[in-house]
């Protein structure tokens, strides 16, 4: 079946960064193995410095082509070995959104519209198609009212959506987002998850490193858990969250999971753990109405 097509295959991946003094740093990630299928909303979670950014950089080929170091194992993206491919080739298929949107802006444009059109101009897309794609992306990102504004005058959530839009406009099949909600207020963060969800529903595969456990639970269907640069587990979000010992990994469990586990321990609930707000509200109502 088409939806089960593997689009990312990571096999025994390890990486150590080369430091400025010529020494090799301790492994940034070690023995990572997972697969992402077409159309998944795949989240990577783990404490700071557990290896999330390293993985994101590797998926889009910045490792090993931009960051120097020792790479072991193999990463295949849409059938291509990232080691043998180039970053330019890969970015047409898999786009990366940085944690800090100001690292993504070109700083050469004076309007959101130009910013969104920048990448298309680089690959020589005809003007009319460019207009059409920029307008379409602006609508999806809910920034169509901002097209004439200077990108540097926008709020954090808005500028992050411009950054995401500038990646999306290139029509990638996969989008990788590296903790791009960390600096945003709760509403800004929700806005990002919501537009990413829209892209996902349009068939784009999403890989998102994020540590907001409630949102990861609410939005993702698969999750990879990192701890101390190693992989703890990966699989379907509900299954992983049911069995994960969050506190030993320095993570806060989603409140939905904590409440439903308590119901289960008290014998009030006998079915599966809730991972979404609606689910826990419905379960709580059912228990209260008994």
């Amino acid at each position: 079946m088409d939806t089960k097509k593997i689009v990312i295959d990571v096999k025994d991946f390890s990486f150590s960064y080369l430091m400025s003094d010529g020494e090799m740093q301790k492994k940034a990630v070690e023995n990572i193995n997972f697969q992402v299928c077409k159309g998944e909303f795949f989240c990577i979670i783990g404490a700071n410095e557990s290896g999330k950014s390293t993985l994101c950089n590797a998926l889009v080929g910045l490792i090993p082509h931009f960051f120097q170091g020792d790479m072991d194992g193999e990463i295949t993206v849409l059938g291509e070995d990232t080691r043998k491919s180039t970053v330019a080739d890969l970015t047409s298929k898999i786009g990366l959104v940085f944690q800090d949107p100001f690292n993504q802006l070109t700083y050469t444009t004076t309007s959101v519209a130009e910013e969104l059109a920048f990448g298309l101009g680089n690959i020589g897309v005809p003007r009319e198609e460019m207009y059409r794609r920029v307008n379409d992306v602006a609508k999806t990102m809910r920034i169509d009212h901002l097209l004439q504004k200077n990108p540097l005058e926008l709020s954090g959530g808005q500028v992050q959506r411009v950054a995401l839009g500038s990646v999306f406009v290139m029509n990638p099949q996969i989008i990788v987002l590296d903790e791009c909600t960390a600096q945003l207020d709760p509403l800004g963060s929700k806005e990002i998850f919501d537009v990413v969800k829209v892209l996902n529903e349009r068939g784009i595969t999403v890989v998102m490193a994020d540590n907001d456990m409630e949102r990861v639970a609410e939005y993702s269907d698969h999750v990879l858990v990192l701890h101390n640069n190693k992989q703890v587990t990966w699989g379907e979000t509900r299954e992983v969250f049911t069995n994960l010992d969050f506190s030993s990994l320095n993570l806060n469990p989603p409140v939905y999971v904590s409440i439903s586990k308590k119901y289960i321990n008290q014998g009030l609930w006998k079915k599966e753990v809730a991972i979404k707000e609606k689910e826990i509200i419905n379960i709580s109502r059912e228990i209260l109405e008994r």
Partner: protein, 271 residues
């Protein structure tokens, strides 16, 4: 220390009015959280406390003294502001030099500098990184370096601008320890944060800004019970509060323990 804002207005040179009449009093050491969506004026307001920004109109009195009576450098000895972005603050080649810079600038005696730097470094877990270049620190460590460099000046009031952004569980715990320790030492800590769980765990007073005005100034639990006002500034109450609200609990719950107290009460009531 008593800090009194009366009808504070502030406009940027572009003409945008960021603060539209803020009247607030701060005294004592009860930790205060300043919340509101991006662009609501939190940072602009916080930068007024030691005069980095000066009121366009209205008054700010610190222990009765007008803010205009001294320079920012002078006020900084008593009121420290930690920038949101460490890059705006750090500029020296070692962590130790960063930490010593402020105290030296305000002409603190060398003995006290050593003592304060040691305390600040230890509190912010920078003590094994004193010889490291700040730009070799991870982004979160850099944030703790900026916090330590303000603590080293031993001010009476410390403003932390969005210290929780990008922090994980360990980072948040360390922040909590820092705030608790400073509170115990009699400091007033005022913190801007988007992390509502963090606000609930650590602050007794919550001020909500919306479009340059104060729309809520209350104890934490009361603040999060004001669903409509919060919605108007696009702040979502934390998930556990929303679940309690959806279930129609009479009280506002802000943590799991309170949730289950209300839940058990409701359950007994229905039997």
């Amino acid at each position: 220390m008593k800090i009194q804002f009366t009808d504070l207005h502030f406009s940027y040179p572009s003409g945008d009015e960021a603060l539209k009449g803020i009247s607030l009093d701060f005294s004592g050491t009860e930790p205060v959280a300043l919340i509101g969506q991006n662009g609501s004026g939190k940072t602009t307001f916080a930068k007024h406390f030691n005069g980095i920004l000066r009121p366009t109109s209205g008054t700010l009195l610190i222990d009765g003294e007008d803010i205009h009576s001294k320079t920012t450098a002078e006020w900084s000895a008593r009121i420290g502001y930690v920038f949101q972005n460490p890059q705006d603050q750090l500029f020296l080649e070692t962590v130790k030099k960063e930490l010593e810079f402020g105290p030296k600038k305000i002409k603190m005696a060398q003995e006290r500098i050593d003592e304060n730097v040691r305390y600040a470094a230890q509190l912010c877990q920078m003590d094994d990184k004193l010889s490291v270049h700040p730009f070799d620190l991870s982004p979160t460590q850099r944030k703790f370096c900026t916090i330590a460099s303000i603590i080293a000046m031993d001010p009476e009031v410390i403003l932390l601008d969005e210290p929780t952004g990008g922090q994980d569980y360990d980072g948040n715990r360390l922040l909590e320890d820092i705030i608790k320790d400073l509170h115990k030492k009699g400091k007033l800590i005022i913190t801007i944060s988007h992390d509502m769980d963090f606000v609930i765990r650590n602050f007794e007073r919550v001020i909500v800004l919306c479009d340059g005005k104060v729309i809520i100034d209350a104890d934490t639990r009361t603040a999060f019970s004001k669903v409509e006002e919060l919605a108007s500034t696009f702040i979502e109450p934390p998930p556990v509060t929303r679940i309690g609200q959806a279930l129609g609990f009479d009280e506002t719950v802000i943590d799991i323990q309170q949730f289950f107290t209300c839940f058990d009460k409701r359950k007994k009531g229905t039997i």
